[in-house]
């Protein structure tokens, strides 16, 4: 901060402050979606498709409508008069196939779990009873499950009217890839399989909608990451002005990307509330969550890496397929995942040439969408695995290989081979810090000794670049209405405390606390004197919410500038009242002081005068004491961050179980506003990455029937299987902003899977086993690799 407060009692930026909201949450006084109830509300339950692909011949709801407690049973025919269908269109993805999507099935279904009919009843239990009484006749159609088979000539079509299952195709090439591979001293290649997993927010998705016909106003409470975006699309789909739509997200029990989309079932609930004129609540149960929340990843990628005789990386070449399910998720499109997975290939390294191609295909499965660290973990695993393979082929230390090849623009900036603009990076510093954090020489000795004693241990590394805090060019140029800017409103209450409102969203990350810290320093008041509201479209300014790790880099910047503006107004008002030049005054800890640090007037007294005794000001002076600041970064499409992770794993030769013994992360997210909370963002992200590497899998059979019925089937990491995670930071400030903050929330997830994958392969190599390039690394896969002696010397 160029103008850090003179004489500020204690800087809040950089302080480890626990979240203020945590007190209420710890006492069970949170207010999550299902804790909110309205008079006359009815409860929703959906009839969902039991099959992956079918034409609906008959949908008879009359018996269900007579079921006890039922208020209505609705189908698409009922909703259509008040609700539009939609297509996911984006100019960022030229040629993107965009089949029509409706909130309830329109004559056919394209995945298990697709909502077909909506029952509204006095309780969820009664609504579920009635769902069982809906009569549904269907003709099952052949389904596409396996992504790599979706483009076969004889593959069934998910959307026959499109004539193909190809949703979009990515291709990029720089340099002479063929020549690089022809000249390479070492070429390594691998076929990678990344299975589907999902976010599993512990609080399921939920929505409560009420319509006031006399005012034409739709009021919605939603467990959502971006209430402003939801407000916009509900307005469009229900043909209401945005001013008639109010969306509130109160406490949100986890997001991770799951709660940032427009889901058919949630639109159906809002349309039903409008039709009925009474409140409708829907809270997904876990089975519904598992089958209808966005899934993530599902890539198959064949990739190779060329290295010269001196161990310099020359080129990467990758060809992938991503299965996105039945539709590209509205409004941002599921293809963002592939875009980022391809664009961030090789990102930590200098490469002369690169080629990346990917087919994004429809399947009769749940939609995929943006899950924490969108696409990056895929690119990171591919790149870092290939780098490890190359280092092994050359017989050298994998860290020496990385150190030699890092792309560090120093004070300048440059582009990666696949087109990312990078700057303000610190790969070497992070690697140095990691080696110190791990006590690497001693650790390696210990690993060697334990291997001698018979343990199957592996140590794996993964460096990464993550693009964060996306700017307005990305969606703006795509024609998709997504706010990359954020706004903070700030006003002084009559007692001198501050009322703040932010367009950001709070899901537990601590964005709220961080914004308060920035505001406190920017204005010159104690954080306890700031009341911050987020997640309410009715009173808060429009903005982006929670995505792309943007809270500190964009929200923090908006808060800083709003705070400085308000501080200027406060000092101007004080100057007018005190008949003193404003430049001679300062605001410190809620007091206006003069150049000698003598208190002249408290902010409370000043505010009281402004609000209740304005006549004391000189004629013509009308202090406002309220500001709004809309912050949009004018340069840089995204802010690159970097870091490196390491994993120590132990394989059990009898069971094939992988045990994570320890994990390390060094990350550079620029200025850290709250080290306590930033560290926990990294740790939480790492565990989601370890979950993906070892356990988590949305399983379908070959015919695209969904096989996970509960959390006993879908494995979420538990405390006893997770390691301690050492976190270190390097702070290389982003030079394009005042605070210099970059994104932190997704870095843990970005490279954790890759580090574990490399560690498991290191362990396998140590005992002469085979290689693995598929996650999750299930016990059968690990056992097969342990027993694969084809590589044994």
């Amino acid at each position: 901060m160029p103008d850090r407060l003179l004489g500020s009692t204690e800087a809040q930026i950089g302080a480890s402050r626990p979240r203020a909201r945590s007190r209420a949450l710890l006492a069970g006084r949170g207010r999550y979606l299902d804790d909110i109830n309205l008079p006359r509300q009815v409860h929703a339950a959906f009839l969902r498709s039991p099959v992956p692909a079918a034409v609906i011949d008959r949908l008879e709801v009359s018996a269900a409508a007579r079921s006890p407690g039922v208020v209505a049973v609705l189908t698409w025919a009922d909703l259509a008069p008040v609700c539009q269908a939609w297509r996911t269109l984006s100019a960022a993805f030229p040629g993107l196939a965009a089949p029509e999507q409706t909130p309830l099935a329109n004559g056919r279904v394209t995945s298990v779990g697709e909502p077909i009919a909506l029952v509204l009843a006095a309780s969820r239990a009664l609504a579920e009873d009635a769902v069982a009484a809906i009569e549904l006749d269907w003709r099952e159609r052949p389904a596409v499950g396996v992504a790599t088979a979706a483009l076969a000539a004889d593959a069934p079509l998910v959307h026959p009217e499109l004539g193909s299952n190809l949703a979009w195709r990515f291709a990029a090439e720089t340099g002479d890839v063929a020549a690089a591979f022809a000249s390479a001293a070492t070429v390594v290649e691998e076929r990678f399989v990344f299975s589907r997993h999902t976010g599993v927010t512990l609080e399921p998705r939920g929505i409560l909608a009420a319509f006031e016909p006399s005012e034409g106003r739709l009021e919605v409470w939603a467990s959502h990451q971006m209430p402003h975006q939801l407000q916009l699309h509900l307005g469009e789909l229900l043909e209401l002005a945005m001013s008639q739509v109010r969306v509130t997200a109160s406490d949100v029990g986890g997001g991770f990307g799951v709660k940032m989309h427009v889901y058919p079932d949630e639109v159906a609930v809002c349309a039903a509330a409008r039709l009925l004129g009474r409140p409708v609540k829907f809270v997904a149960d876990r089975l519904e969550s598992l089958m209808s929340d966005i899934h993530a990843r599902e890539h198959v990628i064949e990739a190779r890496l060329a290295v010269d005789a001196e161990g310099r990386l020359l080129a990467i070449d990758a060809k992938g397929v991503q299965g996105i399910g039945s539709h590209s998720v509205f409004p941002r499109s599921s293809t963002v995942e592939t875009l980022m997975a391809m664009r961030t290939l090789g990102a930590p390294y200098g490469l002369a040439a690169a080629r990346a191609q990917a087919d994004v295909v429809f399947q009769n499965k749940a939609m995929t969408g943006q899950y924490r660290s969108v696409g990056h973990p895929i690119a990171c695993a591919v790149t870092e695995r290939l780098v490890d393979m190359a280092a092994r082929a050359r017989g050298e230390d994998p860290l020496a290989m990385r150190r030699r090849n890092y792309l560090e623009p120093g004070d300048g900036r440059c582009r990666t081979a696949l087109g990312l603009e990078v700057f303000d990076l610190s790969h070497v510093a992070c690697l140095d810090r990691l080696e110190a954090l791990m006590g690497l020489p001693a650790l390696r000795q210990s690993v060697a000794a334990r291997r001698q004693a018979g343990e199957v241990l592996g140590l794996g590394f993964a460096a990464f670049v993550e693009m964060t805090a996306t700017g307005s060019e990305v969606y703006g140029m795509a024609g998709v209405p997504v706010a990359a800017a954020d706004t903070i409103q700030l006003a002084v209450e009559p007692d001198g405390s501050l009322k703040a409102s932010a367009s950001l969203s709070e899901l537990g990350q601590g964005t709220d606390e961080g914004l308060v810290q920035v505001l406190a320093d920017a204005v010159g008041v104690a954080p306890e004197r700031i009341g911050l509201e987020m997640g309410r479209t009715a009173s808060g300014p429009h903005g982006g919410g929670a995505w792309a790790s943007r809270g500190a880099a964009i929200g923090g910047e908006a808060a800083w500038h709003a705070g400085r503006k308000l501080r200027g107004q406060i000092l101007a008002a004080a100057a007018a009242l005190l008949q003193t030049p404003a430049a001679a005054l300062d605001l410190v800890a809620g007091c206006i002081v003069d150049a000698q640090r003598h208190e002249r007037i408290t902010l409370a007294a000043l505010a009281r005068t402004v609000h209740f005794a304005g006549h004391e000001f000189p004629q013509g002076t009308l202090p406002q004491l309220q500001v709004a600041h809309h912050y949009r970064r004018e340069a840089d499409i995204a802010i690159p961050t970097n870091g490196i992770q390491a994993a120590l794993v132990q394989l059990c030769p009898e069971t094939g179980l992988v045990r994570c013994l320890q994990h390390w992360v060094v990350h550079d997210c620029g200025r850290i506003i709250n080290p306590l909370l930033a560290g926990e963002q990294v740790r939480g992200g790492v565990v989601q990455g370890i979950g993906a590497a070892l356990f988590e899998h949305c399983r379908y059979d070959a015919q695209a029937n969904f096989l996970d019925g509960s959390l006993a089937d879908y494995l979420v990491p538990m405390a006893m299987e997770m390691p301690d995670i050492a976190v270190g930071h390097v702070e290389t400030l982003y030079r394009g902003s005042t605070l210099g903050a970059k994104g932190a929330g997704e870095a843990g997830t970005c490279a954790a899977s890759a580090a574990v994958l490399n560690a498991v392969n290191d362990a396998l190599a140590a005992v002469g086993g085979g290689r693995l390039a598929e996650i999750p690394l299930t016990p059968p896969l690990v056992l097969a690799a342990l027993n694969d002696r084809s590589n044994a010397g």
Binding site: R19, G28, L202, R286, E680, A719, I725
Partner: protein
């Protein structure tokens, strides 16, 4: 809109957080649904309804149970305690303070169940090892923290940090 007239019901008498309660409940209603929707005790959360995630953890006659795996009627004659009661009595105040200081919660959805589970551990083993803490809370999923901060907080509350 009440659903009681449409359900098979029974009368239930128990204590909840020390207060006697008599209520007519649907016989098929889960304990956690009754606590939340019948009594407004929304501190107990519903995460999976299969007894896996632990977000609905409460105490019945002094022992932790899954509120989603018991029917409300099964606590007839018994004593129920929820996070609201444990908070009011002050018996989990050290854990709550340790969780807060260590940022051992983010979204907070798992937290009430996690605190009650941790309190039960500390009541029987005042100074558990980190491995023992990890084992004891493994029936409670947390999707945000990655668990380490929770282990730290429980260890600190147990005087073993």
């Amino acid at each position: 809109m009440s659903d009681l007239g449409l359900e098979t019901t029974a009368t239930l008498a128990c204590t909840v957080n020390g207060e006697p309660v008599r209520a007519i409940v649907p016989v098929r209603q889960s304990l956690v649904d009754w606590l939340r929707h019948g009594l407004g005790l929304t501190g107990s959360h519903v995460g999976c309804e299969h007894g896996v995630c632990g977000a609905c953890t409460i105490l019945v006659d002094g022992r932790t149970v899954r509120g989603c795996l018991m029917l409300a009627m099964q606590v007839d004659g018994l004593a129920v305690e929820t996070i609201e009661g444990a908070t009011a009595s002050g018996r989990v105040v050290a854990l709550q303070a340790a969780f807060r200081e260590r940022a051992a919660l983010q979204c907070g959805f798992c937290t009430p169940g996690m605190v009650l589970t941790a309190a039960e551990l500390l009541a029987s083993e005042p100074r558990p090892s980190r491995a023992r803490i990890r084992e004891a809370i493994s029936g409670n999923y947390c999707r945000c923290t990655g668990y380490q901060a929770i282990v730290d907080a429980v260890a600190a509350a147990g005087g073993n940090d």
